[in-house]
Amino acid sequence: MSEATQPAGIPAAAVPQVAQAPRGPVPLTWLKQAMLVPLLLVLSVLFLYPFIWLISASLKPQDEVFDNRIVPNTVQWNYGHGPYDAIGRPHGLIGLVPEAPHWLLNTFWISSLGAALVTFSSALVAFGFAYFRFPFRNFLFALVLATMMLPGDVTMIPVYLIWNHDGLFTEQHSWLPHIGINTQYPLWVPSMFGSAFYIFLIRQFFLGIPREYFEAARVDGDNYLTMFWRIALPLAKPALIVSFIFELQAKWFDFKNPLIYLTDSNLFTLPLGLKTVLDRFGQGGGGEGEWQIIMAGTVLLTIPMVILFAIFQRYFIRGIATQGRKG
């Protein structure tokens, strides 16, 4: 575990190398390990099955969605306009829901922008906490951590009212850009102010950087901002990546905020879009509704996250493990 937790990017000399006694359970013999493999395989099938079922169902015609075959009897592309029925009505995702491509695009840019903003602002705050000593530092940091405990429901209503008020204000002053309810600003603007877990995570990383690096940079004529930019940020890259992908995932998942703030279906993100499709086309359950496009929508919502995980797996695992160690 030790090399997995050692932050990459920090020179090995910076982290004290302590010879450690072996940890974890005593390894099993080769034979005993081999006996566990069938069990792991069965479990894997259980865990993967919903994904496989989903992808397969999204490629079936309307009346075969619930036939539970892994390989579709008839393969049908439900993601475009078609297929068309006898009188030429479309039954594909885009055919029935022309806004769907917008949803994908909206989700993509809101998640990316939000994740980038929250990572940068959290890093700024984290640097403030990690590098400087100042009055109220510990108190303020405790306050940062305390905000993690607060249920979102407590602040949800006043924050909505603030946006509502902002919206009315900008409507009356036409030279201002229109923010507020039924715009996408409430979904990403709060990311500009940092977020407790990421501040904590990045601060831990900054604390691991030897102070001499900063002193040397000071001697070279760096000010605090260039020091942050040239020394701290590059060395904390793994933590920044963790913060970015975690927030990307959180924003991609976000359902409640779009549900609260958005009414114009062109502005929707995928989770809210999928919910709308489900409500509009999902009646009846067993094959009466247009379940083939609901399945296609679900795949569209899920697969990008699976790809994200495939690329950044290491960072996800490390980020989660950090979360656990904090406790």
């Binding site: 575990m1 072996p22 940890r23 974890g24 359970p25 005593v26 099993l28 390990q33 566990l36 493999v37 479990l43 865990f47 919903p50 079922w53 989903l54 619930f66 539970n68 602002s121 705050v125 640097f127 403030g128 400087f132 530092r137 249920p151 429901d153 407590v154 602040t155 209503i157 006043p158 909505y160 009212l161 709060p190 500009m192 102010f193 940092g194 605090y224 998942f253 359902f255 409640k256 549900l259 609260i260 989770p271 809210l272 999928l274 919910k275 709308t276 489900l278 409500d279 067993g286 399945m295 899920t302 699976v306 995980f309 797996q313 996800f316 989660i320 493990a321 656990g324 160690r325 406790g327």
Partner: protein, 326 residues
Amino acid sequence: MASVAVNQAPGSPSRARRWLSGFRKRETWIAYLFLLPWFFGFLALTAGPMVASAYLSLTNYGVEQIAGFEPTKVVGLDHYHELLHDPKITLALKNTLIFTVMLVPAKMLVALGLAMLLLRVSRKLAGVFRTIFYLPEMAPKVAVGVLVLTLFNGQEGIVNRGLEAIGIQGPFWTTDPNWIKPSLVIMTVWACGGTMVIYLAALAGVPQHLYEAAAIDGASAWRRFRDITLPMISPALFFTFIILTIAGFQTFDEAFTAFFGAGSTGAEDPDAALFYSIYLFRQAFRFFDMGYAAAMAWLLFAIIIAVTLVQILVSRRLVFYQGGQR
């Protein structure tokens, strides 16, 4: 100047002055500048709204007040009084509690089982299976809600087909009030990869010599698990216990997706899936009864704090921290 201060003996009267002198240093104000984004967000999106929400919970703020047709009136503790007598609140609390009580142990058990399995095979193999078991965490909650509806469909869902294959007549999961919560629990436990990874890290940190010593003493596998593994990973178990409980109380996405029409106001929705957050959402954003919803939010917060405190107190004697009490 700084070195003079350092040379002073601690506890001398200048300690307070030295603390105060912090405000005269340029560095202090630069540090505050770095904190500015958080500070602004804290005031505008956390502290301010908390105060506002507390105030709203004491008023009749609702749809007429938002539109400005009628003035906002302070109604005192009326909403809190009302909360106690609202049968829907009782129902929502009961649902949420039952769901959480089912979910948390189930998720912890499955995650711990998987983690222990993974630690017993070679690193390479464990890496592959860890990826597979973690993958469900990447399924958005709305997608999980859709999966509840499809996989647990009473007539044609794969779950009931599977049960049929072994001779069990499966229930109508998504329509039978008794089985709605279990289907949500099962689908939520499916996404236990994060918890599993936390346990993996904890399990991998248990010193091996403890197991070796126990094996020499002839301790059974169960004894080793109970007397070494469990105490050594108890901080991780405790952490996930609290986090999962808090999350359980706030469950919204999956249940709302599966069982509540986005525009509906409730008459046709199943009572069995009416969780507290869903009822709160509906009060706030369907009926725009903001005052009442704010009171609901504070009740939820109070319950979460109370439950967490009880958990901390109870587990104080159960959790073992390596390297001494914290």
